[in-house]
Symmetry: C2
Subunit: 110 residues, 2 copies
């Protein structure tokens, strides 16, 4: 035990959960926010932006990349990371949808 039982849930549920999980750490939120702030892909100084050791940052970047939230391409001896807009859009759409459903909710609630 200890491993998530993904097989019992729908693909969509697993996808959203995976994306949410990837953003479930303040460092990774900070990375995503930084990439949006700099508004470009010419990066290479993400480590200096975070209050964590370089291997830790590298690990968080890897995780964001694995879930598809960011993209990275080699650019000389630096690596150019940037947001994957499609992944963010998935989350945006998801929460917009359930938010809409909630506003249509009857008032028979606590």
């Amino acid at each position: 035990m200890g491993a998530t039982k993904t097989e019992h849930f729908t693909d969509k549920q697993n996808t959203i959960a995976t994306l949410a999980k990837a953003l479930g750490h303040p460092a990774r939120i900070a990375i995503v926010e930084y990439l949006i702030k700099v508004d470009t892909c010419i990066c290479g100084d993400i480590v200096n932006e975070l209050p964590l050791a370089q291997p830790t940052v590298s690990q968080h970047l890897k995780e964001l990349k694995n879930t598809g939230l960011i993209k990275g391409s080699i650019e000389g001896n630096a690596i150019c990371y940037c947001i994957n807009e499609k992944a963010i859009e998935k989350l945006q759409t998801y929460f917009a949808n359930i938010s809409t459903k909630l506003t249509k909710k009857k008032e028979n609630c606590c």
Copy 2:
């Protein structure tokens, strides 16, 4: 080590990360979706809706409650759970905001 270093990040970053983390499991996504689907707070059969043992579900519900994503009130010998719209709204607003920022992005990107 092993514990998240929340103290180095902003309150907002920690808040969003906590909410995202709570939704970072398909079972908890399924619970939230179910609560939205039934469109009411008269609950009491969440356990039967999920492919997990009762203690496991109870644990997931506790986690959602701790992060403020759902509310629960005792109603006889059943417990009435429902969505906390404000928490969902926080996420919705957050992703809508960064999504907007992304569309305004220059095209100097990979």
